[in-house]
């Protein structure tokens, strides 16, 4: 149903310990955000793309499509930062004046915007590395090790489980409705969508009661216990992560200057 989720289960990096993948993604992301060095961010972008495509075996086309998803926000956000409107512009603002309003860019804003563009892309590539190689259940297992409250973890696994159940139900209702002209006009669409949402809600409500009954009849006492697959920690992988991230930090320090929060 969600291609990212499918790849997370079927990629070639599944054997690697999820904690290692998680640490690699988060550490690299922090490096990407912490240092104002565009060269490092480009390096991270290429590195992550390389690992995901060559090691994990995600198709190149799919990866490109995925990278284009946040572009609308990215472009609009970056352009908004770069372009300024002003009635009484300061000399740093260079642009044209229409009806007394100056529209233009300043050097500093432009620099911030360009740096932000690459920084965001770098960080997005780290996120994609995590989500394309690590199934949600493994991320949840890592969070559990990090001592996130049990209730939060349990809710996360319940939500994850039911996303797919409800999505399928919603899909079926949607198909049934649209095959009966339920989305033919705007007014109809609102009515249909409203009925879909409320029925979905009631269905989930009843399903939750059924789940509770089923659990209670199996001696549920307030905690969901599941078995976790066993992974082996690889010293080589940890070494690789440390070396790569240290190299990135060195690169960042040499090309972008100091640490800027």
């Amino acid at each position: 149903m969600f291609s990212i989720d499918q790849y997370a289960y079927s990629n070639r990096m599944r054997a690697v310990h999820p904690g290692e993948r998680f640490a690699f993604a988060i550490l690299t992301m922090v490096i990407c955000l912490a240092f104002p060095s565009t060269v490092t961010q480009l390096a991270i972008l290429l590195l992550m793309a390389g690992v995901v495509i060559l090691w994990a075996g995600i198709p190149f086309r799919f990866y490109l499509k995925l990278m284009s998803l946040p572009f609308s926000f990215l472009v609009v956000g970056v352009v908004t930062i770069a372009v300024s409107l002003s009635r009484n512009p300061e000399p740093t603002l260079q642009g044209i004046t229409v009806w007394g309003v100056t529209i233009g860019v300043t050097d500093q804003d432009l620099r911030v915007a360009v740096e932000l563009f690459f920084k965001s892309l770098g960080a997005v590539s780290c996120l994609y590395f995590l989500s394309l190689t690590t199934p949600v259940l493994e991320i949840i297992a890592v969070l559990k090790k990090l001592r996130i409250p049990v209730l939060f973890i349990e809710l996360m696994s319940l939500v994850y489980r039911f996303i797919f159940v409800l999505m399928e139900t919603a899909d079926r209702i949607y198909t049934a409705q649209s095959s009966r002209c339920g989305y033919a006009t705007i007014k109809n669409s609102y009515l249909s969508m409203g009925q879909l949402a409320s029925n979905l809600f009631i269905k989930s409500y009843h399903r939750s009661r059924m789940l509770f009954t089923a659990l209670e009849s199996r001696c549920y006492t307030g905690e969901l216990k599941v078995l976790e697959p066993h992974y082996t920690v690889s010293k080589v992988n940890i070494l690789i992560i440390v070396v790569i991230d240290l190299a990135l930090v060195v690169l960042a320090l040499n090309t972008g200057g100091g640490f800027v929060g």
Binding site: I81, G95, G194, Q195, S198, S204, S208
Partner: protein, 251 residues
């Protein structure tokens, strides 16, 4: 010569506004890596107490009503699925409902904070929408400010004796708008303009996002009213049972 170059810039800007905005507008989540690390950390720290109290309040309701955990799990999945659906927007394009108002009215704002943060994590990981470093900021706008505004408006209007549809519509629409104002505020704080600083930047972000977010808020309000009417007509019993969560839901 300068004039020509900047005409191109302006044309590009307008094109960006009207073409790059996708046909289907998602609720506005700040994308991964867009916030500087200091602001990302700040918003993350800011939501921790809200999450803490949310989890505490869920835990105390679980004592008396253990089946609540399953219901909350399904509620979270429901919110996620709702945000993946498309509704035709009043401007002709499509938009995705956020479910903020509906959730706040049905489950109460504190539970929504916890559920909302979970939904945002899944949107980032499964849909590549939003991000992990911006999770704090997004949770603050969508799962703290939005639900509290929705819930407050719903309760206040109900006290004043407004008709149910008006309460629901305003709660959902204004909850959405509050979310978007908060996001613009967060972006402006992180990226003040060189000329005019925070205020100028805030105005810019408000203006740009108004293009998608105001129609989205109206669509969301309309949809929530329809959902509520159906629920009130056919599922009174369930709504009353739900009142364990949000104190009281009268429909």
């Amino acid at each position: 010569m300068f004039g020509k170059r900047y005409t191109i810039v302006i044309t590009g800007y307008l094109l960006a506004l009207f073409l790059i905005f996708p046909q289907s507008a998602y609720a506005m989540h700040i994308m991964e890596g867009f916030l500087p690390i200091s602001w990302a950390g700040f918003w993350m720290a800011l939501i921790l107490p809200f999450l803490f109290f949310g989890i505490r309040s869920i835990q105390s309701s679980l004592q008396s009503n253990p089946s609540l955990k399953m219901l909350l799990g399904l509620a979270g999945a429901f919110a996620f699925v709702l945000s993946a659906l498309k509704i035709p927007s009043v401007t002709g394009s499509c938009s995705h409902p956020t479910g903020v108002g509906l959730g706040a009215i049905l489950f109460g704002p504190t539970a929504m904070t916890v559920l909302g943060s979970i939904v945002l994590i899944f949107q980032a990981v499964l849909l590549a929408h939003g991000g992990l470093t911006t999770l704090g900021a997004n949770t603050f706008s969508m799962a703290v400010i939005g639900p509290f505004v929705s819930y407050g408006i719903y309760k206040a209007l109900q006290k004043l004796g407004a008709p149910l549809w008006l309460c629901v519509f305003l709660a959902a629409a204004l909850g959405d708008l509050a979310t978007y104002v908060t996001t613009a505020f967060q972006l402006a704080l992180a990226f003040p303009a060189q000329n005019g600083g925070f205020l100028a930047s805030f105005a810019k972000f408000m203006g740009v996002f108004a293009v998608t977010q105001i129609p989205l808020a109206i669509s969301e309000g309309l949809l929530t009213v329809v959902v509520f009417n159906v629920l009130a007509a056919y599922n009174k019993h369930e709504l009353q049972e739900l009142s364990v969560l949000s104190g009281e839901v009268r429909a």
